[in-house]
């Protein structure tokens, strides 16, 4: 029982991080109709900057720098690279982001080299006892708290501000939104900026304890969580990203926690389990849990 509770607590907190990652993935798809495969390496970039500069700037300063730089680079990718081919086929744009991802990830891996980079966060390896022998790392509690605050702020902005209305209008009918005076280029740039900031924030928590530190594979791991979370929630739904993120975090944690009982499925089933859930959801609801169903009025 206590193992179950511990896995539940860890799963929920990991799910919060995954939800943040998926949110950044979905927001770019929603506003700019681009499946952003460069997202994993943006997250790695965010973590790398914190890892490099926390000694000189302090943890807080390094995080702020990381958010600023990552958001700027994301916006540059969105505006400069993709602007040239703005009306191109979504498949082409996705492949372009894949190219950006490879370049960025390769360069960062080279820079990290053999260094043992950590985020230098103030929570370290401390754990909080929840009673009954259940423990949860402090970093995970911090991650969950930050995720909740960011998500609530984001959803309220989407619901109540002019920016949110403009973004949702542009997502649904770009040409009509332009007729209403919505500047589509700015909306897309804003979404990329936001995605970059979310990637940097999530990057800190993904690489903090109990993860071993910052390495070149972090980006792939993050994308491996973002894709099933976003797809099973529905690619264009922010609510879907949150629910999908939680589902992925819980699934991965439980599958890893009970791997002795699941040994007949092979070792390392935990990293595949989210995809199994995604496929099961897509079998029943091909448009995802909350995604815009391709409704055709006939």
């Amino acid at each position: 029982m206590s193992q179950f509770l511990e896995l539940l607590a860890n799963g929920v907190s990991l799910g919060c991080i995954d939800a943040l990652i998926a949110l950044g993935f979905v927001i770019v798809f929603k506003a700019a109709r681009v499946v952003n495969f460069a997202y994993g390496s943006l997250l790695l970039l965010g973590a790398y900057i914190v890892g490099r500069y926390h000694d000189s700037l302090g943890f807080g300063g390094a995080v702020l720098l990381s958010i600023a730089v990552t958001a700027t680079i994301a916006a540059l990718i969105g505006v400069v690279l993709l602007r040239k081919v703005r009306l191109a086929d979504p498949g082409t744009l996705a492949i372009l982001t894949l190219g950006v991802d490879i370049v960025l990830a390769t360069d960062l891996t080279r820079r990290i080299g053999t260094d043992l980079l950590t985020t230098g966060d103030p929570w370290g390896a401390n754990v909080i006892p929840l009673g009954g022998g259940v423990h949860i790392p402090q970093t995970r509690v911090a991650a969950a708290a930050v995720a909740v605050v960011l998500v609530v702020a984001f959803l309220s902005a989407l619901k109540f501000t002019d920016w949110g209305v403009a973004l949702r209008a542009a997502a649904e009918r770009p040409a009509t939104a332009a007729l209403m005076g919505v500047r589509l280029g700015r909306i897309a740039a804003g979404a990329w900026l936001l995605a970059g900031a979310l990637a940097a924030t999530a990057g800190v928590f993904v690489t903090a304890f109990p993860s071993p530190g910052i390495s070149g594979t972090v980006g792939q791991i993050a994308l491996g969580a973002a894709v099933p979370a976003a797809v099973l929630g529905g690619l264009d739904s922010t609510t879907g990203a949150l629910v999908g993120g939680l589902a992925v975090g819980l699934t991965a944690t439980f599958a890893a926690g009970y791997q002795d009982q699941l040994a007949f499925l092979g070792r390392g089933f935990g990293s595949v389990a989210p995809y199994v859930v995604m496929l099961l959801v897509l079998l029943v609801r091909p448009w995802g849990l909350f995604g815009g169903r391709e409704v055709t009025r006939v």
């Binding site: 002019d162 949702r168 040409a175 332009a178 007729l179 209403m180 005076g181 006939v298």
Partner: protein, 516 residues
Amino acid sequence: MRVEPLLRVRDLHVAYSGALPALHGVSLEVPHRGVVAVLGANGAGKSTLLRAISGTLRFAGGRVVSGSIECDGRRLDGLDAAAIARAGVVQVPEGRQVFEDLTVEENLRAGGLVTGRAARRQARDRVMELFPVLRERAGQRAGLLSGGEQQMLAIARALMASPRVLLLDEPSLGLAPRLVERIGEVIAEIHRCGTAVVLVEQNAAMALALAGTAYVLEVGRVTLQGSGAELAATDEVRHRYLGVQSGAPPSRHEQLREPELVAQGISVRFGGVAALSDVSLTVARGSVHALIGPNGAGKSTCLNVLTGVYRATAGSVRYQGKEIVNLRPHRIAGLGVGRTFQNLALSASATVEQNLLLGRHRLTRAGFLSAGLRTPAARREQTAQRRRVAEVASLLDLNGMLHRPVAALPYGVRKRVEMARALCSEPSLLLLDEPVAGMTAAESTRLAEAVARVRAELDLSILLVEHDMAFVMGIADEVTVLDFGRRIASGTPAQVQRDPAVIRAYLGTARQEATS
């Protein structure tokens, strides 16, 4: 001295990529506080003109080649759509295009993004007064509104920007006469409040009644211009767009045979809402049966049950003696029920011929492997299929355009392609969903002839849903009238036209309009 116009279009040339030029030297002036109507058949370039003014040509793959557009002395050509909207020239797009996932209130807010807080509040009060129904529905998702309500929301949304010039693209398209009248009143009211209006319309009676100046476009050129009253009096306009001097109705099928389709007691419920209650109708073999009724009466729902897109909660549908209710759509299509779609179900990037070949899918025997390997049998079959497609195309005057992409064709022609696609599956029963919506009187007369020709040559039974009463009364052997999901009358066109319930629900206003 001459007063400067508010909006001036000078010698405008527009071309779409990969297609012929769409506008050749169009000039047009909109005076301050004026209403200007732009008339013309499908493909004349009316929508293109509005797209050029509002800066949305690039979404349709077009561009301004030469000429200028000025609003109050400021050049608009070259600006993007958002900048033009911010300059006070706001368009209500064709086909409403409300943001369906946003609430009514949020749609209005999206329209007012370009103005300040105070102006927005004022504009909101004004549109709520103009459209009380939007106040009642403020918290609802716009996708749940009926077609007429969505049109009102689209106009209200544009008014939220407090525009100096309002561009309206076919606001009456697909609406029942009662609603068309209401939209006309609203436009008159907008004009009274000082906004200049450019109105692109198929409904010439409404447009000419409102317009100070009117232009007639033909194949990308202005061929007539003058005051609304002047144009309404010219023979050409009366004949073409007002449908005066209508030809004799096509001859009726003499002998009616055994029923092709018998629907009994169909009911459909969406959640708690009854969309259809206990509707029955019979389509006699070889006849044309029309299903009419005001917006929201359940006509499209009925068609969707017959084709298996929606499931009926109760009732039975027998086609050639076989029960087909709640079969899957592809099974029903496989039995020989073809249909066209109101919003067109064509692949825009494919050519007309490719679209029509898709219509022959159920009759194509070559499988994935033999077609891929181009076996002799598959090649022979392909040749035969192409020959048949060409025959069907010629029935609907489409021979010349088999190799043009559908996206490059005007709306009226696409509707004929849609019908040809349905015919390509060699149906025995053809269902037509609003075949003439958005067509001019002349075009709908041509389509009526085509329908009569097709029925005679291919020995079809036809069930059609349509708003255009003149079209329906000229072509149908039998008419069933729906209102609020119930059948309120059925019989021959003459019987239905005399039925007091029908006159109350539908024809009352149409009659007045025709005689006024």
